[in-house]
Symmetry: D2
Subunit: 255 residues, 4 copies
């Protein structure tokens, strides 16, 4: 069982809500994923047309909302957006995303740390989305983040664990849960992150942009469980030389 | 549902029986894996002490035996061993393994093709274990193999899909099921093979040498199912540039 | 010709001075490398025993010193060390290294940006050593850095370009020279960095810890030149399908 | 100095002659490469128009021709083509290429071994082009091949050393020179192959299809020399933990 931000989760697959072809498809995929923590961009909440609103599709008892600040460009905007989000979505949890660059959407380390400090003081449970930078992760932890969310590869790239060497260091050093976010394009990527010892993963594009998002959501569910189980069951070590699965003897000589 | 050698299988995880610390641990792990096809080295069958025999632990209705010729050094020995195996294990299915080299246990392409031709004529359903060589795979198919079993990495190395570029070609070209064998060291590796379109995988060392083989078997079970489901649901494409999960606008400007 | 910090360099191989078995071996290797920019830790300068001092071995007209702040833990210490270094080594050039973590020696993004701002105002030509974080690189450039020095892998690991996907983005976006620093363990790694479009590389451990540091220095020299030349000559694109080098016809039919 | 097939070579860069935009461009690039062994497809030799013939551009004292059998589909055709080539190009050296598949041009292990046996008996110095299959390489050596030419990736793909794990085993086990052929798309790939201990590399597409083939040829020349030199100077080992280039002490405390 994963504990983070004062909540407990059976599922270690966190999910996003962007890019689905419809709200009902999104709802169906999220239910299939077994996810209990779902991130929603504040800017996507339609406060004026509540009937069409995305939040209507997320009203399930097991679903905890994780508002995110996608679209803000600095700490000041982030703090403002966070406060709006807390009110709109009635939760202290916050995924902090500050990415000034519109091409790769990579996170800003300086503004993210600054906003984390301020938001923690304001009582938010901050999940910062950041580069896989081990030193930054420790600083965010010290600033009061309840988890860290290092990226695996640029958002939406589906490239997998391109930051693996650094994720291993982050996982080794962290005192708060490590959630690998962004870039996970296939269930095998998610399983790999879990095998390394990540506490959870966040997946959005790979599910929403699959030909069959509902089936893909289920595939990620199983892969995350498989990866976690393998982490707990401890993988056999990598060997340079082959090691036969069965004892090698020229047994026919004896016949 | 997978069809191969005239049999049908719900599970796409094939398993091996070597390296477990006891026969009862092996039995428990194989049951947890959900595997329906289990390979057994002829040389490990103890025809003189039937009570201690490994086969006693494999007597489950859903388990199909796949005898293997591990330990033979050429086609002639393989054909002889195959005939003994057919008698001892009462099946025409045969995993053909010819690896003269004791250090890396890599398969011999020439003797394997020769033995496949002969064994197919003798009515065997041959599953040859071979290098991930696309031309050789086509020749084996033409020689009557019911499946091909290219390696992912040297046996027991747990290195994963080191032959990926060639497995993709093999899968694209094959008219018989492709079973990735050897080198799969983690559930994520197995999921990856399935995502590429492999029909099944064979895992032994990674389960048997895990700290908890029974849990690891279950992890592989889920990973294989996840990978297959993802293959069928079609993965989203890899992108060079980031693609935001949520529409990017400087929404705060509008507040 | 590379221009950086108001200097011009024929060689795009920057070098370090740590870990050599003797000062004279270091001198010989640096001369063999053709390097024109050599980084020296201020803490290694022995101001009390000038005859034994490392600087005596670096007195060659073509060698420009690049003092570094290795050993400092924050911006304040870095600024102090920089001023000592400017005096001791009589140059405005400064490699800024702030790594509080003694295990992996990874750089601190926050303190590095802060120190860069201050040092640029004090007239230093700052070369900050940092994680391969594209957003941070842009901020350092805006703060007045004359170059950015993203890491390829943890210092001394010899793992190569583990940050490749992010180096490509940094190179694409940077208006100042990009020098790949740390982790380059083989000439092929250095060539690869140059093929991607890096302006230069910095190598230390891979030369100093080779069995033959002088020969390895020469190998890196050639590899860097090869990589730069290939970048300028533009690599042929990667192809999914094979493309024959010679026209494929069943020419024998015509004989 | 490399010895193979009774000849000695200063250069460990072997080259091909396909895909250049003109014969004179080819000649210029080959001269820039420093290569002393150049492969030519028999089918490209124009016996009826000797003035236009490719061989006219290869008449340099330091250039040894290596005829190849590209275009043949089996051992029988290969033996016939080899005999024509020996006559036309006046050399016993022969690059044996048998690739029945027109899409990926991957070599046929069975026919290649068969042809090698026959050609060795006929006095040819056979360089077989094959998959990176360690067992097959040993068989070819036993059949009389003077070198083995395992592929790095499919011909013309420029993907680099996709077969690295197997090349390492081949190099470890071989008693004849190992020449990595096919797939090397950048000087860094060639340097990497040499660092692993390959005796030589063969490059064609990456030079011929570069924007500037002459400069690219020179880049490969330097990279191959760099890689060989690094192999001989012995690379420093890969480390899991960072190792500082300079001794780490909080030296400022002492000031």
């Amino acid at each position: 069982m994963l504990e983070v931000g004062g909540k407990t989760f059976q599922s270690r697959l966190f999910t996003g809500t962007g890019k689905f072809s419809s709200n009902s498809q999104m709802e169906e995929a999220l239910l299939a994923s077994g996810s209990e923590l779902v991130t929603v961009a504040l800017k996507r909440v339609d406060m004026e047309n509540p009937e069409e609103d995305i939040l209507n599709y997320l009203k399930h008892e097991h679903l905890q909302l994780l508002p995110n600040t996608s679209g803000v460009r600095d700490a000041k905007e982030a703090v403002f957006a966070a406060q709006l989000a807390r009110e709109a979505m009635e939760t202290d949890l916050l995924k902090l995303e500050i990415h000034p660059d519109p091409k790769y959407l990579l996170p800003d380390p300086i503004e993210t740390l600054k906003a984390t400090e301020e938001l923690a003081k304001l009582g938010f449970k901050v999940f910062p989305y950041i580069h896989a930078d081990p030193v930054l992760c420790k600083k965010l932890e010290e600033a009061g983040a309840v988890a860290v969310m290092p990226l695996g590869a640029p958002i939406g790239s589906n490239k997998g664990l391109k930051t693996m060497d650094f994720l291993e260091i982050i996982i080794e050093q962290s005192n708060v849960p490590v959630v690998v976010d962004a870039g996970l394009g296939a269930p095998s990527h998610a399983a790999h992150a879990m095998e390394l010892g990540a506490d959870a993963v966040l997946v959005n594009t790979a599910i929403a942009a699959a030909a069959d998002p509902v089936a893909m959501a289920k595939a990620f569910k199983m892969a995350v469980e498989a990866g976690r189980m393998a982490y707990e069951a401890k993988l056999a070590p990598v060997q340079q030389h082959a090691v036969a699965s069965s004892p090698l003897t020229s047994f026919l000589d004896q016949l």
